[in-house]
């Protein structure tokens, strides 16, 4: 009797279970996609280019990718709320130049670092505040404006409108040193990622970021301080530019209005390639990092194979197209999955 009951109830339950778990597995695969692609990419590059896996090259990639990764973390927060920050590269350049000018008058690493971080934060705050309180329809406009303004200021205030040499010891150590063979910039990335992870996953603020990105109107209706949540993401994106400025100025022992050229493109690409959604509210911190490493690996592989820099731009562009299409496809498949499940319920 008991057996019969089980049999009687099993077809429906079973169908739902299998269908449901198949859908769940498919969704899991979709979200794990970027990591799989990165693994395949690394495998392919290591097979075709043996130099790739040499420790020297690996630490090279880590150092080169670190600035993109740090700023991509900030960009990711902005994109999670359906925004975009086009000013990150110019912001970073301005931050280094202000640090460089201060280095002319003081040897204090503390002052130089604080100035770089403060510059990033101020520009970020301006972005967020004008976007939110100026009631702009989209952050595209204001961050495009600050891109131009910051780059312009960076050029006009830097000595001879170009690169300035020298950075205090601590800055050089952060950007160029290593601990037990691990490049310091990589350690900075890990610390930043850990902090962002804690904030995004375990704090109320993080929940609000996802809520605002997922349904902005509902977020207002549910009493979330949407305006301040938005401003905070731009401030943090700005701070990430300040940190990136310290790392880059340290590694190159120089500051320059030329720094961070097209960094906005690299960071947006990193976030999207990594698998976060442009539509907001979806994606985790790992996505930005995976995307940054993927860009780093592609660049490095092309370099090792003597592909010229111009074609590298083409390659990154193509990868972005593929990644955005993957995002569209993922959303389509997800809504299909929803319809399927609803049909069963």
């Amino acid at each position: 009797m008991v057996e019969q009951q089980e049999i009687a109830s099993s077809p429906r339950e079973g169908a739902q279970g299998v269908g449901g778990s198949a859908i769940a597995v498919a969704l899991k695969l979709l979200s794990a996609g970027p990591l799989l692609i990165l693994a395949i990419l690394i495998a392919l590059v290591s097979l075709t280019t043996p130099v790739f896996l040499k420790p020297g090259n690996i630490s090279n990639i880590l150092a080169q990718t670190s600035v993109i990764a740090i700023v991509a973390l900030g960009q990711h927060l902005v994109i999670l709320t359906r925004g975009i920050d086009l000013s990150v590269g110019a912001n970073l350049a301005l931050a280094t130049v202000i640090g460089g000018l201060l280095y002319k008058v003081t040897d204090s690493s503390f002052v130089v670092i604080a100035a770089m971080l403060a510059t990033g934060i101020v520009v970020g705050f301006v972005n967020g505040a004008v976007y939110v309180f100026g009631r702009l329809p989209h952050p595209f406009i204001i961050t495009l404006a600050t891109l131009s303004i910051c780059r312009g200021i960076a050029y006009s205030i830097s000595e001879n409108h170009t690169t300035m040499r020298g950075m205090p010891d601590a800055v050089v150590a952060i950007g160029g040193g290593d601990i037990l063979g691990i490049p310091n910039p990589f350690i900075v990335v890990v610390i930043c990622a850990a902090l962002v992870l804690v904030m995004a996953k375990f704090m109320v603020w993080g929940r609000w970021i996802y809520a605002v990105g997922g349904a902005p109107q509902a977020a207002v209706e549910m009493g979330i301080p949407v305006k301040w949540v938005l401003v905070s993401t731009y401030v943090l994106a700005g701070l990430s530019c300040g940190i990136g400025a310290v790392v880059l100025a340290g590694r190159t022992e120089a500051t320059s209005p030329l720094f961070g050229n097209l960094l906005e493109l690299d960071t947006i690409a990193a976030v999207i390639i990594g698998g976060a959604s442009f539509l907001g509210g979806r994606g985790h911190i790992g996505h930005a990092l995976i995307g940054a490493v993927m860009i780093g690996v592609i660049r490095n592989a092309l370099n090792l194979n003597n592909v010229d820099a111009f074609f590298q731009m083409v390659a990154i562009g193509l990868v972005i197209v593929v990644a955005v299409e993957a995002d569209v496809l993922r959303n389509y498949l997800e809504s299909r999955a929803r319809t399927l499940q609803a049909g069963k319920g």
């Binding site: 739902q16 449901g20 859908i23 769940a24 375990f202 704090m203 109320v204 603020w205 993080g206 929940r207 609000w208 996802y210 809520a211 990105g213 997922g214 349904a215 109107q217 509902a218 977020a219 207002v220 209706e221 549910m222 009493g223 979330i224 301080p225 301040w228 949540v229 905070s232 509210g281 979806r282 997800e334 809504s335 999955a337 929803r338 499940q341 609803a342 319920g345």
Partner: protein
């Protein structure tokens, strides 16, 4: 007890609202009492939504006042309305598709610690929120396929149930439901109607906006009819006066 029976939990008095040349509300007054379902009826554009938006602080009244528990109150935002004990189930449900049911329940009023930090910087008490949300879902007998999946992956009825359940839990005075069954099938509607009865039984004043006269007759203790921004009638709906209600709504003679 007699106090709560005599003093309406919500009174709207002589409400006036105009948008440019359009007079959306003209001298509308109504009372809502605890343990009572008040149906708010009217054709499209009659002023139902405007009235609700004025009550929950989306719009400010040009004239008139909102009285909560006998105290004249000005509510400036939906968040303030929630704090005052007014829950709203919006027509679009105001759910976060990317969040799970439990996350949806607590969005905007997360359980978190420590208390001395500003709200946004507190740490989420995920376990507590998951447990309590599960208990609520269980108590309301809402069936969900999965508790840890985003609500985007759930059916219309399940989503509606989540939105109503969320209001049920947090409502302390008034629950406003804007066409809660409009997009639902028969079985799912039934579920939502049961939830509304439960809300009433728990002592809330329920304001129900709907076009479904069956539901009005079944559920509503009173019905207020709006037409072109005016209150044109108020009566206790039953089978007998159903036709009268309809003609009040459309403005035709019986």
């Amino acid at each position: 007890m007699s106090q709560s029976e005599t003093t309406p939990v919500l009174s709207v008095r002589n409400a006036e609202k105009r948008f440019g040349a359009v007079q959306a509300l003209r001298n509308v007054s109504l009372d809502a009492h605890r343990g009572e379902v008040l149906a708010l009826l009217g054709d499209n554009g009659a002023g139902k939504s405007t009235l609700v938006k004025c009550i929950i602080g989306v719009h400010a009244l040009d004239e008139g006042e909102i009285v909560l528990d006998g105290v004249s109150t000005t509510i400036h935002s939906p968040a303030a309305a929630r704090r005052a004990g007014i829950e709203t189930v919006y027509q679009d449900l105001a759910l976060f598709d990317n969040l799970t049911p439990a996350q949806n329940f607590y969005c905007g009023r997360e359980l978190a610690f420590p208390q001395w930090l500003p709200r946004g910087l507190r740490f989420l008490r995920k376990g507590a929120m998951d447990r309590e949300a599960a208990a609520i879902i269980d108590r309301l007998k809402v069936k969900l396929p999965r508790f840890d999946a985003p609500v985007a992956l759930m059916s219309g009825g399940q989503r509606q149930a989540i939105a109503v359940a969320r209001a049920t839990v947090f409502a302390r005075k008034i629950v406003i439901l804007d066409e809660p069954t409009a997009a639902l099938g028969l079985r799912e509607s039934r579920k939502v109607l049961d939830l509304i009865k439960q809300l009433r039984a728990e002592g809330n004043a329920v304001i129900l906006i709907t076009h479904n006269m069956e539901h009005v007759v079944e559920l509503a203790d009173r019905a207020v009819v709006l037409r072109q921004g005016r209150k044109v009638g108020e009566l206790k709906p039953d089978r007998a006066n159903r036709q009268e209600l309809v003609s009040l709504i459309v403005g035709a003679e019986v």
